[in-house]
């Protein structure tokens, strides 16, 4: 029996801590994003799913992985995929695909996005989160991909227009493509933890607005802050996540209960003009 447990544990650690060859096939799809109130907007995603999803895929690698990435463009427009400082696939023409193999970059958080027609293709959904985990990092993480949506932009951009950034006025606000209450149905986003057990959250702002995230119940320790590395190490209950930037935080709950986390620009906790159908979720902490 002891031998069996030893083998299982060894295999577990081998899988967790060793680099691997990873193949990913992402398909660029056009579709529709539907909000809580039934409103729909034109949307695009990078997805490995057979069906359209609310958000582009979350990609998780281990440090040292050798990644073979194939991106298939099923739309009638040109697109691309770039990871800043890591790779740029160039132009993927309509109905074409590009494949490239690369070494996973050092442990950390990265964004992948369509660099063409910047920032509009990305605004329409063509961006996502990459987390490269350090060897032996067994900490459970939750992932929040923050975005906002202005209906007229989603109508205008596919017609070839470039809306003026200074007039941006989003009306819907999402985490991983969902608004409250559906954020809490997303196991990647909804934090369920225990008193005394560390919780880590990777927050990436793939939108265009600054989001000021407020935690009820707990102060968070800022582990990484791509916009202001000088802010790393701070204990905060509210902190900004700037567009195209990320924050990784950690906290150890000291009490049980259900505690909200939301953007403290309180317009962003609304959706379609309804309170609080926006960027609002809760931490569920068991004793």
């Amino acid at each position: 029996m002891k031998k069996f447990i030893l083998i299982v544990v060894s295999v577990f650690f081998y899988l967790q801590s060793n680099a691997a060859n990873v193949s990913i096939r992402l398909v660029i799809k056009n579709g529709v994003l539907e909000f809580n109130d039934g409103t729909t907007v034109y949307y695009k995603i990078f997805t490995s799913s057979a069906t359209f999803a609310n958000n582009s895929d979350l990609l998780i690698f281990n440090e040292g992985d050798i990644v073979t990435l194939k991106v298939v463009n099923t739309t009638s427009e040109n697109h691309g995929l770039s990871i800043t400082g890591v790779l740029n696939l160039g132009v993927i023409t309509a109905s074409d695909s590009i494949q490239q193999t690369f070494n996973a970059p050092p442990a950390g958080v990265y964004r992948f996005f369509d660099p063409l027609n910047f920032p509009y293709n990305e605004y329409l959904g063509l961006s996502g989160v990459i987390h490269v985990k350090a060897i032996n990092d067994l900490t459970p993480y939750f992932y929040w991909d923050l975005r906002e949506h202005q209906l007229t932009w989603n109508e205008s951009i596919p017609l070839g227009n470039s809306p003026i950034l200074n007039t941006y006025q989003p009306y819907y606000f999402t985490i991983n493509g969902n608004s409250e209450p559906n954020i809490n149905l997303d196991i990647v986003a909804r934090v369920i933890g225990n008193v005394g057990s560390e919780v880590r959250i990777v927050i990436v702002n793939n939108g265009l607005s600054i989001h000021s995230m407020h935690f009820h119940g707990f102060h968070a320790h800022l582990l990484n802050n791509s916009k202001n590395t000088a802010h790393e190490g701070r204990e905060k209950d509210t902190f900004p996540v700037y567009p195209k930037e990320y924050v990784v935080l950690s906290f150890v709950p000291d009490k049980p209960g259900e505690y909200p986390v939301h953007d403290h620009n309180l317009v962003a906790v609304t959706g379609g003009g309804i309170y609080h159908a926006g960027m609002f979720t809760t931490l569920l902490i068991a004793p």
């Binding site: 102060h219 701070r234 905060k236 509210t238 209960g257 620009n265 309170y275 159908a277």
Partner: protein, 391 residues
Amino acid sequence: MRKKLLFLFVFSICNYWGQIDYSKLIIGRNLGTHTFHDGLQTRIFGFTETLSAATKIPGPTLYLNSGDSVKLDFWNMSQGAPHTIHLHGLDVNQQNDGVGMLSFEVMHTEHGYYYFKAPHPGTYLYHCHVGSTVHLQAGMYGLVIVRPNDGNLLLNWENGESYGREFPLLASEIDTIWHNDTILDQEHDMTMPLYVPATYQPNYFLVNGKSGTQLSDISNHLLALPNEKVYMRLANIGYYGVRYIFPSILEARTVASDGRPLPAEVVNDTIEVLPGERYETFLQLGMDNSYPFTVEHFNLNTQVISSSQTMVIETTFSDVETKENLTFGVFPNPNNGIFEINEALTENYQIYSLEGKKLKESMESPISISDYANGSYLLCYKGNTLFIVKD
């Protein structure tokens, strides 16, 4: 055995809550009026301490000492929606967190208690968390300032850094369209949607409830003594970002945020405070008569600056509030030119003439100003300034 345990549990709970160090009555109101600098008036919600008090933006500041057991008795006398008190940043438990759907709401003519401890000195906020997008915009917010456990008014935390005076500044904005009765008087039913206007385009930008010319008006200057070290408690409860921009001569040093010391102080004249954040910053005043500084509000979607307003720190020898909690004193005063500070000196003091000329800097004690003419002088020590009279 079970009975004994039950008795002990009840006894300990009663004993615990029996040791209330700070108790306060707070009243939620829905029928206030706010007057802007241009004379326009708008309806507001808010918090008051008495029924007869006028509803103002912001609500009364709550001053606590770290470690206090606090009880807030919150009454809703609003003729309208339910309200709560969320203790923003104080990390209270779920029952006392003030989020209606997760704890309790207080209905009109009813009341409820909030119990908590405030273990960390610093700057915090309180606000209603029912329909909060509407109720905060309406004015239901205020500051909570937690002092060190001994109640020291001139020290940022236990064994922290002293200052001569503090200035809490709470930024917000108002879009007057959001203050129409149709928005404020919506039926509050948890099963029904609560609507907000289609756009948020604030037309007034506030600090401590003042806007425009009110902020720079002499009646709203922040008064301090020359050469004082002042402590700015910079907070933002609005839906826009705020930048406080101080003149470089004031050597702004930010040392804390959200009720926690920063791992390393930040020397920067511009302090950006996003919605819900608080920062604590030292400024070193000199002998100039006034120090204007800028408060910018910027749109979080476009990052366009929507408002840039001026406030003023004015140095004066009069009209400054008497300081009752100075950490030190001098004796004798008046004197014949020889006097002492009533504690062991841990840093240099400076002696200034009333014209602002530095006459002496030393740790020497007793202190001598025998070489100077009879008259008044300023003693600066640990960020505080005292008048010394030689006769």
